[in-house]
Symmetry: C3
Amino acid sequence: MKEIVAIIRPEKLEEVKNALEEAGCHGMTVTEVRGRGRQLGVTESYRGRDYRIDLLPKTKIEIVVNDEEVDRVIETIVKNAQTGDIGDGKIFISSVEDVVRIRTGESGKKAV
Amino acid sequence: MKEIVAIIRPEKLEEVKNALEEAGCHGMTVTEVRGRGRQLGVTESYRGRDYRIDLLPKTKIEIVVNDEEVDRVIETIVKNAQTGDIGDGKIFISSVEDVVRIRTGESGKKAV
Amino acid sequence: MKEIVAIIRPEKLEEVKNALEEAGCHGMTVTEVRGRGRQLGVTESYRGRDYRIDLLPKTKIEIVVNDEEVDRVIETIVKNAQTGDIGDGKIFISSVEDVVRIRTGESGKKAV
Ligand SMILES: Nc1ncnc2c1ncn2[C@@H]1O[C@H](COP(=O)(O)OP(=O)(O)OP(=O)(O)O)[C@@H](O)[C@H]1O
Ligand SMILES: Nc1ncnc2c1ncn2[C@@H]1O[C@H](COP(=O)(O)OP(=O)(O)OP(=O)(O)O)[C@@H](O)[C@H]1O
Ligand SMILES: Nc1ncnc2c1ncn2[C@@H]1O[C@H](COP(=O)(O)OP(=O)(O)OP(=O)(O)O)[C@@H](O)[C@H]1O
Ligand SMILES: [Mg+2]
Ligand SMILES: [Mg+2]
Ligand SMILES: [Mg+2]
């Protein structure tokens, strides 16, 4: 099992969420965050204004999936979150050891 | 060391928090999030209303513990967050390589 | 690649953020959270008031870096977030398997 964490532009959440649903990926957790990338002395736009290095509003999506779904989820996020301008976001992939569904108590692959 | 991330119903936080305290587990970090599970075309209730697949308010609890405490923490969360209805939540377990206590600079098991 | 998660006092964010920038570490994601540490029956101060065990406002910083930068980032956070009083915070280090830059689609070390 893997955790895919994507930090995207807030205005891209709707598009990414719908595309993931169409790709058969339903479970996700969303958090409003602030962030900065690697730019220094370069500006990044947010709602039509330019900002030098600072914390800008971003949306974090966390998705835990079985290994065979990882590539599809990443492709779907990249395709739907991309604008081509700096600040489009990042995806981090890491390993998850186990998952438990609280309602049933079941764990492992079938609980994802 | 392991990280246990639980996404639960917001109204269950108080109960889970108190049960964890009684179980001797004090450290935790809580974030208000929104999420959806695996249902599609099925409704999930929130505050007495039914919602089709969409992002509903959930509460995320992150707990880093030493390995021998993992089972107790998971059991305590499942027992206290469960209602039996869809949307009760999920628990994700992953590995943590090191912990540092900022006040003292100490690291490893004793810093957890 | 590693993920460094620091939970610090909200009033220390500015100092830590600037110190990380000077240390050459730009990318970060910040979330407002609430938390409690290991104290029980001991008080912790927040804005001049004392609280027994309860959830106090904290700020979470997530930083993904290449392995060779981990020590520098941890030292910078400890040095700038420390007051010496209980509640200064914690740092958790874990492994990240891959990173993708959404704008370019590139992945691996150069995408961090
Ligand atoms: N190394 C990192 N660690 C943690 N979060 C990061 C990191 N890099 C970026 N982020 C998060 O992702 C958001 C978007 O980053 P951004 O797209 O600017 O990355 P970038 O590497 O600077 O790419 P680009 O050159 O396309 O701007 C940031 O605001 C921050 O929340
Ligand atoms: N695969 C997942 N990845 C990330 N977050 C998830 C995932 N599945 C669930 N969540 C989070 O947990 C919350 C509760 O999920 P939920 O209890 O509905 O899971 P479920 O698998 O659909 O189980 P149930 O059938 O009991 O509803 C979601 O709103 C979301 O925040
Ligand atoms: N084991 C833990 N798991 C998850 N989050 C934790 C844990 N311990 C601490 N935290 C987070 O870090 C914040 C600060 O913790 P704190 O500095 O009080 O840790 P501590 O171990 O009690 O150290 P101190 O003795 O210096 O107070 C908490 O409010 C919580 O958000
Ligand atoms: Mg950038
Ligand atoms: Mg569900
Ligand atoms: Mg403490």
